[in-house]
């Protein structure tokens, strides 16, 4: 157990030692090799890179160099990433066998390894992390420590103002003042709906009960979204600290983190963080000697999207099937085990400590009138810089896709961006200049959602995309209420008919009607938002639906029943690349002859289209 003075000492000492992590001018002889150990880079062998670095450093007996595992740097498309500080050199696509060269050249001789330096979209070689366009328009608040600290070392967290907010709250603020500060900051729930966090806390504070709970919702089920996971992997302590602050504010002394079992690295880091916080007396019976008691347990989810809905999540923590409850009563009055409960999303919590330390006015100066602060997005799909980005609210979609994301690969055109996952909608090119905030997104038929942002190029069929999302909701519908259980199934059947060329115009009408009714009559957020992908694609891409229904055509050839892939004999040069790449040997023709596709063998996978250098295949 540590006292407030001891924490302050650690902070000072460690901060000096870690100055080179944030200060490129740092006056030190040390070098830190930072290697990303987020899920993306880990699956492309970053643990092996760390191992190699450590082994080589030991073998060559090199002094003043440390190898550190960090959370996600954000630019997953360039992974595995190695950053050398203080000079901030950014090495991309590093392989385990490159370690020796980096040590020999860079660490021992001070020369950069040119071939591994990251290239920006315009082909320019980037020397420093800050020079990358990807980072220029970003503002990191929730992700402040991600990629800077070792998430498994509590001292590194403490060095960067860690556990200073809880100290301030416990020694200088009343619970009312904490709630007042959070309310004034304008922070809204980052899980999707955007409910004001301060209001949520004050509802729970007003309830009289012998037991209250704080629950952290880390059940990030939206496929293609990984914001919460990256925060837990990169900076787990900031979530623990914020939960304790919330506990103090509403009068709770027990917290639960409900996290997906599919996130093994995040779970492991949380376990380590909780253990370390307990050892330091930052969780437990007498936090910082102030008499405040708060502890946190982990509960694992087991793969059910609906458990992201707050009442379903509570059922699941209680060990039951995750089926949502009818609201009201709301969790703030009757939540976990029937007691008042506050449920906050990971990213929401990650903002709390910074608001307490920097003040409500600082936070509310960032963003737009009704949406304050920043938002983290998992940028994915057909965009060059796939990764994790944090931008101030009010940034336009165009800035995210083109300036930060680096545009669409292969010279393709932008067709739509999808936000909010299976609950959200598609945003077409005409709305690229919409500022991203809760209200603007809702007004164009999408939603903020938890932060998945998938970009689609002009080769994507919107009908089959709608079908994809409905397949997901049908599978994930819990079955409690009829509109969602049966309604979504009927919607999916119509979409399948459309993609197979068996539908007519009346089916589109039925689809639309069903969508509106399901939205109106489902119990929980899942059902109420399940038709959104259909409604928004119908709104902006109705022509494509009509083509499928009337002309039995799919302009993108994605709907295989409606398409044939053919080689244009006028453009074919007979190079045979398509033939060599075809996985099912469906392309026929002798050397230097024009090739022909055998339609009976063709599985329409599109490999040939991508492999043809003359664009002769369509």
């Amino acid at each position: 157990m540590k006292t407030i003075e001891e924490l302050e000492n650690i902070r000072k000492e460690k901060r000096k030692e870690l100055d080179l992590r944030v200060n490129t001018e740092s006056n030190t002889r040390e070098k830190h090799i930072l290697v990303c150990r987020g899920t993306g880079c880990t699956s492309s062998k970053s643990p092996k890179i760390i191992e190699n670095f450590r082994r080589i450093i030991q073998e060559k007996n090199i002094q003043n160099v440390r190898v550190i595992q960090t959370g996600c740097f954000g630019l997953c498309a360039k992974g595995p990433i190695v950053i050398i500080r203080p000079e901030e050199t950014f090495y991309a696509h590093v392989k385990p066998e490159d370690c020796e060269e980096i040590i020999d050249k860079h660490i021992c001789n001070g020369q950069k390894v040119e071939r591994l330096l990251c290239k920006d979209i315009d082909g320019k070689i980037v020397n420093k992390l800050d020079d990358l366009n990807f980072y220029k328009k970003q503002k990191r608040i929730a992700l402040k420590n991600c990629g800077i600290i070792d998430p498994e070392e509590i001292d590194e967290y403490i060095a960067f103002d860690g556990y200073k907010a809880i100290e301030k709250v416990l020694t200088q603020m009343t619970p009312d003042e904490v709630i007042e500060t959070v309310s004034k900051s304008g922070l809204r729930g980052r899980g999707g709906a955007g409910f004001p966090t301060g209001k949520k806390w004050s509802f729970a504070q007003k309830e009289v009960s012998n037991q209250k709970y704080i629950v952290c919702n880390a059940d990030e089920g939206d496929p293609g979204a990984f914001m919460d996971r990256s925060i837990l992997e990169g900076d787990p302590h900031c979530v623990l600290e914020a939960m304790a602050i919330a506990g103090y504010a509403i009068g709770a002394n027990q917290g639960y983190i409900y996290v997906r079992a599919e996130y093994p690295i995040a779970v492991q880091r949380l376990k380590i963080a909780i253990k370390q916080a307990r050892e330091y007396g930052l969780l437990g019976d007498n936090i910082l000697g102030t008499g405040f008691k708060f502890d946190i347990d982990i509960r694992l989810g087991a793969g059910a999207f609906v458990c992201g809905e707050e009442t379903a999540l509570l059922e699941s923590i209680e060990g039951k099937r995750g089926q949502p409850r009818v609201k009201p009563p709301y969790p703030a009055s009757k939540g976990l085990f029937g007691k008042p409960t506050v449920i906050n999303n990971v990213e929401t919590l990650a903002n709390i400590t910074k608001i307490i330390l920097n003040g409500a006015d600082w936070f509310s100066s960032i963003g737009t009138e009704k949406s304050k602060g920043t938002k983290v997005f998992a940028l994915g799909g057909n965009v060059n810089n796939v990764g994790l980005v944090e931008v101030p609210m009010g940034t336009t979609l165009r800035e995210i896709v083109y300036d930060i994301g680096g545009g669409i690969p292969n010279g393709r055109g932008f067709k739509a961006a999808q936000t909010g996952g299976p609950s959200g909608g598609c945003i077409p090119a005409e709305h690229l200049d919409t500022p991203i905030d809760y209200e603007s997104l809702a007004s164009i038929g999408s939603m903020m959602g938890s932060g998945g942002l998938i970009v689609m190029d002009d080769t994507k069929c919107m009908v089959s995309l709608a079908k994809f999302y409905l397949e997901f909701t049908v599978k994930e519908s819990c079955g409690k209420c009829t509109p969602c259980r049966i309604g979504t199934k009927r919607m999916l059947e119509i979409l399948e008919k459309l993609c197979a060329g068996d539908a007519d115009e009346y089916d589109i009408y039925r689809l639309e009607k069903l969508a509106i009714n399901i939205k109106k009559s489902s119990i929980c957020g899942l059902g109420q938002s399940a038709p959104n992908p259909v409604i928004s694609t119908l709104k902006y891409f109705r022509d494509e639906f009509r083509e499928h229904a009337l002309a039995k055509e799919c302009r993108t050839h994605e709907c295989k029943e409606l398409s044939r892939i053919e080689i244009n004999p006028e453009l074919c040069k007979g190079c045979g690349l398509c033939q060599r790449n075809c996985p099912v040997h469906a392309i026929e023709g002798e050397q230097r002859e024009k090739r022909v596709i055998n339609q009976e063998k063709c599985i329409k996978c599109g490999t040939c289209i991508n492999s043809c250098p003359f664009h002769a295949i369509k």
Partner: protein, 160 residues
């Protein structure tokens, strides 16, 4: 993860897992997660033991197991192939991989080949969106995958 496990062994190991947790009903999902991890599926005998120790009816346990996609009632194949159908992978063409997998293995997602060598899953986001499209064979991740590369990997395991 191989084959069915004996009744005696399952009973002992399940009891071992139960020792780690307080005997309360809300621990059910945590316990089932451990059992799934241990055996690669949730054997009937494990359900019997949990039912007795925590005083939860078998029907309720079965209800919970079938609700959550992570829990399975049958063992997986020696090589479990998971194809990511997260949105990022889908947009980059992972449906083609899944179609090809179904064709090659002649099973549907969730199924196991008759010889127990392969099983197939369509999963939602394995977290490697930067490498999309992605498939996995057990814990090995294959990124930026094409149908051709998928075929090569499958061929390698098939000829083993």
């Amino acid at each position: 993860m191989e084959g069915k496990c004996g009744v005696q062994k399952v009973t002992e190991e399940t009891k071992e897992i139960l020792k780690k947790y307080p005997k309360e009903k809300d621990q059910l999902i945590m316990i089932l997660n451990d059992v799934q991890e241990k055996f690669g599926y949730i054997p009937k005998q494990a359900q019997v033991v949990i039912s007795e120790e925590l005083s939860i009816p078998m029907a309720e346990i079965y209800g919970v197991i079938t609700f959550y996609s992570r829990f399975t009632l049958a063992p997986k194949g020696k090589y479990n192939i998971s194809i990511c159908l997260g949105t990022a992978c889908f947009v980059k063409g992972s449906q083609n991989l899944l179609d090809r997998a179904k064709e090659r293995l002649k099973i549907e997602p969730g199924g196991v080949t008759p010889d127990g060598k392969f099983s197939l899953d369509d999963v939602r986001c394995v977290g490697a969106c930067g490498l999309a499209p992605v498939f996995m064979v057990n814990d090995e991740v294959y990124g930026n995958a094409t149908v051709k590369q998928f075929d090569e990997v499958i061929d390698k395991y098939m000829n083993e």
